[in-house]
């Protein structure tokens, strides 16, 4: 209609393409890490520890973004760290979404005792401090990719369940649900054919948001030294090391942090962008 809406549309488009572009870039880098990385991410060289990035005085130009205290190449470690970050994001995000959204949909649409049980579970879960809970889970499960994914699913399913439950409840009060009943559609059929397409945009937004959160949780767990083994390059592990030596070697903290920041931001903007672009009601 007016110019305002076109402008919003345009900026939404830019948001979608920028975030999708960055995530595609990170994905390609992660897949082709052995070729993309200039150095071996695990190779230590104690004589070239804490070298600054290439443009700073005293840098070794072959270590483009400098080295950490053990002389490992920061850029290569970021590139290999992307593999773990993305694996966690995709697997944990999707699983969390499937479980949480299903429970939320069932509770919100079927109501009754199903809702009572699921809501009570959500209440109990909400009374846990999530970071502490995940740290605790990793402590008992032992470190490793599988444990991280499991911990994320266990702590974060409520995020989907809560929101989707409320949405499904709102949709359930609409007359098109009554119309489906008048047409003789079964409860399950109504949920899948009528309600699900209407909560799908929200699910997509939450899903990409969750992928970003999964990357952060992995980083947090690496940060408290509970994630993968300490040698494997992870963004969180690098941030943890960078935090301790921030006054001596800022680049060890800055580069992984910027990468993580952009990736998390890109994930969250991707969802909003996809919704604006593909939701028939908004289009």
């Amino acid at each position: 209609m007016g110019d305002g809406r076109i402008q919003v549309r345009r900026s939404a488009g830019a948001r979608l393409w920028l975030s999708a572009g960055w995530l595609l870039f990170v994905t390609l880098i992660a897949i082709f890490a052995p070729w993309a990385a200039p150095k071996d991410p695990l190779a230590q060289d104690l004589f070239s520890g804490r070298l600054p990035p290439f443009w700073v005085q005293g840098a070794d130009k072959t270590f483009i973004l400098g080295t950490d205290s053990l002389g490992r190449d920061v850029l290569s470690r970021i590139i290999f760290g992307a593999r773990i970050a993305l694996a966690v994001a995709l697997i944990a995000g999707t699983l969390t979404c499937l479980i949480g959204a299903t429970l939320g949909l069932l509770a919100g649409f079927l109501r009754g005792w199903v809702d009572v049980v699921i809501s009570r579970l959500i209440d109990i879960w909400m009374a846990f401090p999530p970071v502490l809970f995940s740290v605790l889970l990793i402590a008992v499960l032992g470190p490793g990719l599988f444990s991280i994914i499991l911990a994320i699913v266990v702590i974060d399913w409520t995020r989907f369940a809560r929101v989707i439950r409320a949405e499904a409840m709102g949709q359930g009060a609409m007359d098109y649900v009554a119309a489906a009943q008048v047409a003789g559609r079964s409860r399950l059929g109504t949920m899948l054919v009528e309600i699900l397409p209407n909560v799908l945009p929200t699910i997509v937004v939450l899903l990409t948001l969750e992928m970003g959160i999964a990357v952060i949780v992995e980083a947090i767990l690496s940060f408290v030294n509970l994630s993968i083994s300490t040698d494997d390059p992870t963004w969180g592990g690098m941030i943890a090391e960078g935090r301790t030596s921030v006054h001596q070697a800022w680049w060890v903290l800055v580069f992984p942090l910027v990468t993580l920041f952009l990736t998390v931001l890109a994930f969250s903007q991707l969802g909003e962008g996809l919704k604006d672009r593909f939701d028939p009601v908004l289009r």
């Binding site: 209609m1 007016g2 110019d3 305002g4």
Partner: protein
């Protein structure tokens, strides 16, 4: 000069479609004028433009709104608000959302008197009591201390009417004031508005889609289509001999329970096309 005189008023969505296309309209002191049209005709926009409550996305692009000898559109915001607050008032459509749910009824009636017109509190409260009695509320003291949710829809509409007449405005704009009410309540409320209007001799601009209501309450009426004035007439003249084809079509489409055999005639396509051509011509003239 008329008390309210709108000259060539054009209103549009910011950077977009026009909603009012050079509308001119006069209301004399004490006149009751109906503003009639279907949805999208722009009838509510006129009221909002006068009162300065156009939505954020809508702007006045040209024209004049003279209220009691002053063009409102030339005034800076604050004096304009004050002038409107002192001279005009609104009876809104939906009594359920037109009272602030978190404030008691009393202050909502006296607020304008105290804050804008500088009355003393006891005077304003006395005035509120007087008005509530006038709109036939008998438990005045209790109602003044109520929160809106404690009152029925008809009761709230009475309070809104009382509040509109509180500062003895010279012009009241009633925006579909009975659309949300049952017919039996509608009759009581219309009777009340008509009685108050006659008693205070206030000019009334009555926005409605219901020709039945217009024929009962108004003296004159203006028919709108697509932001254009289609016909201006006295009520008697209009219902006895509507001039414009669109007016005739609207009357024919309105069901009458006394006349069961009259089949309802939708507005003929030819009439709509002629009107759309007029709208397009107005826009060409505007842009060209």
């Amino acid at each position: 000069m008329s008390f309210l005189s709108i000259r060539n008023l054009s209103v549009q969505l910011k950077g977009g479609q026009r909603l009012l296309r050079s509308v001119s309209l006069d209301v004399q002191p004490g006149e009751v004028r109906g503003l009639v049209g279907e949805s999208g005709a722009g009838k509510s926009m006129i009221g909002k433009a006068i009162l300065g409550t156009l939505p954020q996305a809508v702007e006045v692009v040209s024209g004049e709104i003279w209220l009691d000898g002053v063009d409102l559109l030339t005034l800076p915001p604050r004096p304009r608000r004050r002038r409107i607050g002192a001279l005009a008032a609104l009876i809104p459509q939906d009594p359920l959302t037109a009272l602030n749910p978190s404030r008691r009824v009393g202050p909502q009636i006296t607020g304008r008197l105290i804050d804008i017109l500088g009355w003393k509190r006891p005077e304003a409260e006395a005035r509120a009591r007087e008005l509530l009695a006038e709109v036939q509320i008998d438990v005045v003291e209790r109602v003044l201390r109520c929160y809106p949710h404690e009152l029925s829809g008809g009761m709230r509409q009475r309070i809104l009417i009382a509040s509109a007449f509180a500062a003895e405005p010279k012009l009241i704009i009633a925006d579909e004031p009975t659309t949300a009410l049952d017919v039996t309540v509608q009759k009581q409320i219309l009777r009340l508005i008509a009685g108050m209007q006659a008693h205070h001799n206030t000019a009334l601009l009555f926005v409605t889609h219901d020709l039945g209501v217009v024929s009962k309450v108004c003296q004159t009426l203006t028919v709108l289509y697509g932001g254009l004035v289609v016909e201006e007439a006295t009520v008697r003249g209009f219902f006895n001999a509507p001039q414009h084809a669109y007016s005739r079509a609207l009357l024919a489409a309105t069901p009458k329970y006394t006349d069961p055999d009259a089949s309802l005639l939708p507005v003929p396509d030819a009439v709509v096309q002629a009107l759309e051509a007029q709208v397009a011509a107005a826009d060409r003239a505007w842009h060209g």
